[in-house]
Amino acid sequence: MIDLVGKRNWFFLISAIVIIPGIISLAVFGLKPGVDFSSGTAMTLHFDKAVELSQVRQQLTNVGYDQAVVQPASGGDFFVRLPEITSEQITSLKDSLQTGLDTAVTVSSLYSVSPIVAAGTVRNTFIAVILAAVGILLYISWAFRKMPKPIRWGTCAIIALLHDLVVVVAVFSILGWAAGVEVDALFVTGVLAVVGVSVNNIVVVFDRIRENMKRGVSRDFEVVVNYGINESLGRSLNTGLATLFVVVALYLLGGATTHTLVLALLIGIATGIYSSLCIAGQLLVVWEKGFATRKKEATNPV
């Protein structure tokens, strides 16, 4: 049996190492909103002849789009992000690139959102997040009604859940300025799915702990929790790994459309496994016994 509870301070430290820089990044840079939320026109351009990034930038500046953000995409394509422009402007932009760079240009994908739609999406996203939060809170209070101290267990579950969410959002904030990763409606989709999966993991672990308390595994709460976590270890790791296999495959092989969704799932599910095994139960122990620093061998009960 692994002493996962005894090492709790280490786990809290590891989480802090990710979360604190993440929160700083969030505070300083925030998230980089995609076209869905901020309005604008985003397009992927395919050039028949290989062109340089600087050429595309220069040409866009020449025709007056000096605020355009240009990024190289896969296969020699370029991703261009502009404030919202009309369909006529898109056509003339394409034509001027074609003549200026002397190559055929295809708009292989285009996404254009006006401020009115973007504002609506932002609002609805907030409502969705609040609805999800209420739903999950109701579920948690129902799922933990049989627990010895429902409020305490519920709070620990929520803290562990927030931990997972903060990690996902923080990583996206860091990736935003480091790699230009934007958040879009699919990112929100991924985050809400992560909430579902994450709560589920925590509930399974807590259920085991409760069962072991009833069976009277040990008088020491720390031992009971550790025993419960160890019993869930196989299930949590295996389920998580099975899901991660699929998500990693999707991340590496799937197309660009679902990148933010799959990346949010990848980070969220991985963090969810970690927090359900290394954070959630440990928080219960901290609440019961404080941040005990004494090194304690977990004894094998029964």
């Binding site: 369909s87 994908s109 285009l110 999950i136 699919l186 799915a193 259920d207 295996n238 389920t239 197309g255």
Partner: protein
Amino acid sequence: MKRGSTPLLIFILVLFGFCLWVIWPGNGIFGRNEFTLGLDLKGGSHLVYQIDLSKKDPAQSDADVIEAVKQKIERRVNAYGVTEPIIQTINNERGSFVLVQLPGVTDVDQAIKLIGQTAELDFREEVLDANGNPVKDADGNPEWVVAKAKGSDGQERELTGKYLKPNAQVILESQTNKPEVAFEWNSEGAVLFEQITQRNLQKPLGIFLDNQLISAPTVQAVIKEKGVITGLNLEEARTLAIQLNSGSLDVPLTLVERRDIGATLGEDSLKKSLEAGIIGAAMVIIFMIAYYRFSGLMACLALIVYVVLNLAIFKLIPVVLTLPGIAGFLVSVGMGVDGNVLVAERLKEELRRGRTLGAAIEEGFRQSWSAILDANVTVIIACVVLYWLGNTFGNFLVLGFAVTLFIGTVLSMFTQVVVTRTFLRTIVGLGMVKSPAAYGVSK
């Protein structure tokens, strides 16, 4: 064999066989013979127009105006020759919108114009000064006024496109081979047109579309029923003919969202996602068998049944498959393992405690059931919220994910509890695999 599991096993096998037949390309019931692919997989254009209700005729209700816009857009899109378009209206606190999905459309610019243009056609006369000479503006262009005449009931009426029969068509002028739009007036229009051509003989008559002059032919003779509009290229003529037949929109539309996906990009994404899915699923199967041995194999068989059932449901409902939708489905496959893992872990424990195999299976399922049910509730909550989010703003990508993850989650409970258990019971009943080691228990 345990009593009661034989009929279940037969039921599962029949259902599986049926679903396997259904998902085969070309097979299906209710005419659902192919999977329904979303725009991101087929390629095409997704357009959202805002309906400007402030410009409506106050006598009409909002709902009527919106419905009329939708019907006219439907007529335009159908005449344009798009297969399986989707036209929906969305009403929310920000206004009224109409969402148009055009799969496979290549000339999106043309389609945008065709759908969104008000297309109000009218006929105008030159404004004459006191001497009967045409009044010119600063640039030397004639000034125009909408031609009016007495209708059949004696009332003054403006001659506009609403008196046209919906049978306008593009013809090629025999001499010049230039495209023209041939139109026909209804009886009221004919009454008006006769008077107007009569008084404008040998004078130009301006034909305006949305206040833009298209052409100004000189009236050669008094005409009642028919006419042609010249001065257009073939594409413009085609668009105009469709618009005249659909009728002009009562209120202006503004394009507020546009998403184009190239057909090759869609195809490429589909291929990539399928590859990812197959590789991911293969890894799950290898892992499950390596770790849980025989019960892992059973779980994988259940997983295959699950995948086939799920795909059959997708085809029969039909669920519109999108890239996020495929991702949602694959995630549900990964999570579908969850219940089987819970059961297999319990099974191992019960065997360790020295129960017989049959008793361990029953106990393993009994113990894991509440966890399986609980575990899926949170995912279902997330799906319901996402469905709402995707629906309110017509985001088909978010919607696709929510729908497939929901179906996948609900169905996985069924396969975990019914299919895996039946398989295991059958095996035990047949006394085939007895060694606890086969269930991952090391002695």
